[in-house]
Assembly symmetry: C2
Homo-oligomer: 344 residues x 2
């Protein structure tokens, strides 16, 4: 299933609840607020300097899932949010994410982002770095408008942690020896920290702290970990029929993700040499991606990575038991199921 | 005169007030608080990811002037600051600046920063982008700890405006036709906005608003404009005996600063061709920098740029008349004189 930009573009308002996925129901539930978030996002991308809205809108309109701001909205609505502070926070969360994407593409020398040419390919690395900085500045401005110092603490901490995770990833790039602990530290910082902050601000902006805040922090953290693990599984096709165009980015960039780490650990000498040549030396031939996909499957690396994701998914769902029951809480539970079911 | 890192390294505690420059007196006055700022800066640069303190300390220990955090401290002390909130804001201001330098060097392909190899030359563009992002995140975290939403508004707005100014500069790079208005818009955003925010937060963090806040906002704004104009004059040697190693960076990078814009506007066809070849086409020969310095002097471009800086310096000094008189206020007036006197 494709996940699109707005409630209008995806979630049918009269969808059948019985067959609807967690994310479809999430989109339908937060749809009206997401329209406010989207309007704010376009306003935040505005500038008299033409290059800024040009680049920002290239990303903003490129069909990203907007999962993070939807999670912020849902988390706030769990605690009966009113007003517009949670809308501002949701837009800020999406801009933090967008700024990260712009810089990531520069760091990774990426050619493609969301099926379109990466901004850096069209406008260059210089503009991508600077417009990323602008979006981050706008994100902080918008958070400040939400008026909660505790939310600012949560989100500014996430901002530093995300960058720290990217540097950690860079320092272990193209290395198979760093192993599982390093990988987990990277994805916790670069991905799960923002999911966690995105959901933690929900109770806070509605005046809740203590157990509710801690529960939503953990929910986002574990969902983010599961989400990234499944993303990394999908880069090798998951357990689905292969869709060539969606696979192999991590492989080509020499990223030692968990499927690769597991497969490498279970390899004989010949296969270890294969992984070293591809991941560490970056010498990749035409047939290597297919061979890599074969190896991560036959060694059980894919299944075991999915099992790790399931473990975190369980923790995310458990965290929800510390917030009051509601249909929206059930939806957030189903979002966890959905994140993992993408692998199949 | 060189400006150094701390009060200890420069300002003699028993300096003769009659011969001391404004900046020397500023350093002496805020010295004790700057030691707290410096300790905080080193703490903020800490991380378990080794590459981060390595790169951050390369810049932090490279003898930058730390003029901006000193201005924040002085501005807060004008209004009898106590506690440590102003120290946190000063450190955050310096980190915002440091993050900008890391990204600027990537954008400008710079080889040298403060007389040392630029971080990007040693650790690469990727690490420079990501560590810049980390420093910005740490800056925001530290601002949040200061606990003032109004200061957060001021500084986050500056953060977005600075990036906007950098993009504006990029969009007009290597163009002589953009002219004086474009140049002024660039330096107001990329330089003066941070000076302005750095001084505006002084009254705010001490509980003052209204006229005091507006006065210190204007003081920093106009000081920042004067400061950048004189920096751009100094890149062509100012009116001093030439110091080859300090000149020509802007010229080599094709930056159409005000001295160049004025000289170009006053040129005959042959000289116009010279400037176009050097600035717009980037075809620079060994003897061209000397020729450029000759031209910006003989056309009066240097003198007239200094005159513009003097005009802003006057406005900065005038702004101080709206805050209560004190020896420290006089020192801030002398800082303006010092900023301009650097040209001679």
């Amino acid at each position: 299933m494709a996940i699109g930009n707005t409630a209008e573009s995806i979630g049918s308002k009269d969808a059948d609840p019985a067959t609807e996925s967690g994310v479809e129901r999430l989109i339908r539930t937060v749809g009206p607020d997401m329209e406010r978030v989207n309007a704010l996002i376009y306003a935040m991308a505005g500038s008299n300097v033409d290059l800024i809205p040009e680049i920002a809108n290239h990303l903003v309109s490129s069909g990203g899932k907007r999962l993070r701001p939807m999670l912020t909205l849902a988390s706030a609505h769990l605690f009966d949010a009113t007003g517009d502070a949670h809308v501002k926070l949701a837009a800020a969360v999406e801009f933090m994410h967008t700024a990260t994407l712009l810089h990531d593409d520069v760091v990774d020398d990426s050619a493609v982002r969301r099926g379109k040419p990466a901004a850096r390919v069209i406008w260059g690395n210089q503009a991508s770095v600077l417009v990323g900085d602008f979006l981050l500045g706008q994100a902080f401005k918008t958070m400040v408008e939400a008026g909660s110092l505790e939310c600012l603490r949560i989100l500014s901490t996430a901002s530093a942690v995300i960058a720290e995770g990217e540097v950690l990833q860079l320092s272990g790039a193209k290395s198979l020896a760093k192993g599982e602990d390093h990988y987990m530290a990277v994805i916790e910082a670069k991905t799960a920290a923002l999911f966690s902050a995105a959901t933690e601000v929900g109770p806070v902006i509605t005046g809740n702290s203590g157990a509710a805040q801690d529960a939503m922090r953990r929910y986002g953290l574990y969902l983010g970990l599961a989400f990234q693990l499944i993303d990394d599984v999908l880069d090798y096709g998951g357990n689905r029929d292969l869709l060539g165009k969606e696979t192999g980015d991590d492989f080509r960039e020499g990223k030692a993700t968990l499927p690769v780490i597991y497969a490498y650990q279970r390899s004989d000498d010949a296969d270890k040499a294969f992984w070293k040549r591809c991941i560490e030396d970056g010498e990749i031939r035409d047939e290597d991606l297919d061979a890599a996909i074969e190896k991560v499957r036959t060694t059980g690396a894919i299944d075991d990575t999915i099992a790790v994701a399931r473990g975190f998914g369980k923790k995310a769902t458990d965290a929800l038991s510390d917030v009051p029951p509601s249909p929206l809480r059930d939806t957030l539970g189903d979002v966890v199921e959905f994140a993992i079911a993408r692998a199949f």
